[in-house]
Amino acid sequence: MNYLIGLLSIVFFILAISVIVKSMKINKNLSEAEDPNSAADSSNNINAYGMLAFWFFGTVAGVWSFNASAPDFLPEAASAHGVTTDKMFWISMSVVTLAFFITNTLLLFFAYRYRYSKNRKATFYPVNHKLELIWTVIPAVVMAILVFSGWRTWRDITSQAPSDAVVIEITGHQFGWYVRYAGNDDNQLGNYNYKLIDETNNIGIDFTDKNSFDDFTATELHLPKGKPVLLKIHAQDVLHSVYLPFHRVKMDAVPGMPTKFWFTPTISTDEMRAKLGKKDFNFKLNCTEVCGRGHFGMAITVFVDEPADYKKWCAEQKPFLATNPAYLAKVPENLKAKAAKYIPAEPISVDSTATEAVSVN
């Protein structure tokens, strides 16, 4: 509603200007003769005042709309690096907003102040090397400072993941995400191969790799709070992009080229719910690379658990092989014994659909 009021005021602003311009035109004949040597007409002053008015209303609208929108901005970052980048964002943003405000103010004010007058002549002022040097050096220095701090942060974010990081595989497909955990025994993801994908093994887990045996899949992403997490990212069909807005994480998923991103979640889902006062708040994983019809709906829920709860949740998960014992047939003879450990004693029904991954739309 507030915005509609803002909109109406803009409409009236435009109307007011057009009415004034029109009336000036009607009055043209009454006003004194225009300077024949100049293209300036009787509307010149109105346009000059328009610049001032634009500055004034623009500033008011800018400040007001920022404050009105701020409650909907992303809340405090829920990851360690996110806190750093958020701080840097707001510092950079204040620097550029200041530059934006000063330069636009000068531009609009000069436009008003130096509007045409037939009694005045413009100042012939073609060059001033000192001035030019100053405003080349100042942006260069400011830029250098911003870029240097940005580079250090970028270097830290993209550094090698700690060796104890929890490894989770995210695979994008039209239109959803598959999640695979490295398992409770070895924290090592098994190989995968896109040619092994079938209706049940929809990630293409390679069971000739013994690291695959304890891997389990999930329809939602669980992360331990305070522990580094390494996302290994794949795509099956077209480009996708893993986007965890609250964790300030984004990395494209590319078919044929594994990508990765590691970060440390710092706020659990429960803590965030308490912080925001929203009982049903949930972190999300969205897609930010256009991938087709269902692009906008390609999301799964992310839970950040206390480390103990995370351990408990992991322990409850059954390895893929345990829920789909038929895949034991794909395990090579020499590893059969190792794999068989994960097969439950009593046979479970083959048509289990427990691992059917979430698919939005």
Partner: protein
């Protein structure tokens, strides 16, 4: 003023003895397959304006979906047919097609062809003092390849599977696999075909611009006496000539992948229950090739606008452009740097992070020449005597938008900050202000300023003022709030925001409505321009030779310059184009063709030395005439 006129008359008296050989062209030669740069420029302009309305109306359709997701759009069915789904809303795939075609049309067909094509063609021969382009025939071919390309692109809007829909960047594999989305079928084939012709057209144009500027300058027109418009067209043409071929190769490899089973961009793909045999390709390779054009393209769009603005601001501030050489230097700096910043579009594609660091440094360097340009524009206004013609208003608007959109580039160029902002509305806000709106304002400024020379009549200035204010307020109202949704993490190219969760879709309901309504109003107000443009061509007030009291050579031509531009000799050039309000001078402008010997009262000490060179410049006349008769 008086000296200018007397000299012009002098030129006229000994005119006509050198008759430029020409026969009266018939209608087709004159208006359709014309080799005259002025006609070709008008052809480009009219195509550009028509495309702008197409591209704009597409954006209004997707803005309706974003602003009013529950709105019944059944009334659009007569136009869109089955692209309106059963529930009376825009089809989800067609939404992506709208976004894609809006981007393609605006970037290439409006702001590249419509802007550069129009004004490079129109102004280069007129401002450097040439009778026409180096090759009128290639120039004509350039337009007709553009026309062919336009026809193909336009036809793709009407096919059953819809036009290309994978975003204007058409990243494979989405664009390579027809099974991934319907728009990647025939629509994409047409897109690629159209763009191939477009690139041919733009290369032909670019070669011509460069050759003409280097070879056909009139006597005395040294590089340091060229107007900044010409400098900007020169660098724009170089940018296009070096980068468009890379897009062509990217497109060709994509065509091979699509049609001949190659694997340049495809690897390990499982789609629709089928594992494709392609291995070893790299989807990232395409992105590198695309952005090697894609980033210079931003400057291909922007530099002509900046060049024209320099000219218009100097003329209407009645003041020399501040820091002429710094302006050339920053144009040159931007041109060089434009080639080595492309990967800042790819920080989060999985590219090596070290490469990301390198491109971050290079990207932030390009902000320095851009800042210098902004400061120089502002200083040009300082202590000027500002005449707010519609062209001047649009130029001031351009500077404002260039700054407002430019500053957020410093945020996005920082790879650490780009992680969260990449592909959000923050990016949309950034490039629509700095590249889209700023260049559009340059286009409008150019049309208002050079309309008298194009059509021999004046546009109505009151309608121009209303058009400016509506558009200026409008584009800020549309694009400024998008920063907010970007900071809130809203991704671009989203049909709706329901999957953000936590009532994310309700966060900016009223803001999105506001943007949509503002977009509709801004778009509608372009009708004022369209009416003014068409009406003034036929019924506008008759123009004079030099309505803005400007210094450059095009204003020494007759009101309706004929074939060959100057009925008599081409004037010689003795001074730079920015002698406005020179101390001591009687008139507040001294055109470029006035020798220093005619203005002893206003010459600076070093300019008095130039008088000695005037004889040498004049003696080049015979050689210049001979070069046209060869």
């Amino acid at each position: 003023m008086s000296t200018a006129i007397s000299h012009a008359e002098e030129v006229h008296t000994h005119a006509h003895d050198h008759e430029h050989e020409h026969h009266e062209p018939n209608f087709i030669q004159k208006y359709i397959f014309s080799e005259d740069h002025k006609t070709i420029a008008k052809q480009y302009l009219i195509m550009g304006i028509l495309w702008a309305f197409v591209g704009g109306s597409l954006s209004i359709m997707f803005r309706l979906q974003l602003g009013f997701p529950d709105m019944q759009l059944e009334w659009l069915r007569p136009i869109l047919g089955s692209w309106i789904d059963e529930s009376g809303k825009i089809d989800k795939e067609f939404y992506l097609a709208l976004v894609t075609m809006h981007g393609t049309i605006m970037v290439f067909f409006v702001l590249t062809a419509g802007l550069s094509g129009t004004f490079s063609n129109f102004l280069i021969p007129l401002q450097i003092g040439a009778r026409d382009m180096a090759s009128g025939f290639i120039n004509m071919l350039s337009f007709w390849f553009f026309f062919l390309s336009s026809a193909i692109m336009f036809s793709s809007l009407f096919i059953e599977t819809g036009p290309a829909s994978g975003g204007w960047v058409i990243y494979p594999p989405l664009s390579a696999l027809p099974q991934a989305m319907p728009g990647s079928g025939l629509g994409m084939t047409l897109w690629l075909t159209s763009m191939a012709f477009f690139i041919v057209s733009s290369l032909m144009g670019g070669i011509n611009y460069i050759c003409t500027i280097i070879n056909l300058r009139t006597r005395g027109m040294t590089f340091t006496k060229m107007p900044l418009t010409i400098w900007s067209f020169f660098f724009t043409a170089i940018l296009g000539l070096l980068s468009f071929p890379v897009l062509l190769s990217a497109a060709l490899l994509l065509i091979f992948d699509r049609s001949f089973g190659t694997s340049f961009y495809l690897s390990e793909i499982y789609i629709q229950g089928q594992a494709l045999p392609n291995v070893g390709g790299s989807a990232i390779l395409y992105q590198h090739l695309f952005w090697f054009l894609g980033h210079p393209e931003v400057y291909i769009v922007l530099l002509p606008a900046l060049g024209m603005t320099s000219e218009i601001i100097a003329t209407n501030a009645r003041k020399p452009i501040f820091g002429y050489r710094a302006m050339i230097g920053s144009l040159m700096g931007i041109t060089v740097l434009a080639f080595i910043v492309w990967a800042h579009h790819m920080f989060v594609t999985g590219m090596n992070p070290f490469l990301g660091s390198v491109f971050m440094f290079l990207t932030l360097i390009i902000a320095v020449p851009s800042a210098v340009k902004a400061f120089n524009y502002i200083t040009t206004l300082w202590k000027g005597n500002l005449i707010f013609t519609p062209a001047m208003l649009f130029s001031i608007g351009l500077v404002s938008l260039f700054i407002s959109g430019g500053v957020t580039g410093i945020i996005l160029g920082n790879s650490a900050l780009d992680i969260n902002l990449h592909d959000t509305y923050f990016v949309v806000a950034h490039f629509h202000l700095v590249m889209g709106s700023a260049s559009f304002f340059g286009l409008m400024a150019g049309v208002y300023h050079w309309f008298p020379k194009m059509f021999g009549r004046m546009m109505n200035s009151t309608l121009g003022y209303i058009h400016f204010w509506a558009t200026f307020v409008g584009v800020y109202a549309v694009f400024f709030p998008m920063h907010y949704t970007g900071i809130a993490g809203f991704p671009r190219r989203y049909y709706s925001f329901t999957a953000l969760g936590n009532d994310g879709q309700n966060a900016f309901t009223d803001l999105n409505q506001f943007i949509t309504v503002a977009a509709i109003l801004t778009f509608s107000s372009q009708a004022i321009f369209f009416f003014n443009f068409v009406y003034s061509i036929f019924k506008g007030k008759k123009a004079t030779e030099n309505p803005w009291n400007s210094n450059t050579l095009e204003w020494t031509t007759p009101v309706n310059p004929g074939h060959g531009n100057w009925p008599g000799e081409i004037p010689a050039v003795y001074r730079w184009p920015y002698d406005y309000s020179k101390p001591g001078a009687e008139s507040d402008f001294i055109p470029q063709h006035i020798p220093f010997s005619a203005t002893p009262e206003s010459n600076l000490p070093e300019e008095n030395e130039e008088i000695a060179k005037e004889k040498a410049i004049e003696s080049l006349l015979a050689a210049q005439n001979e070069s046209y008769n060869r």
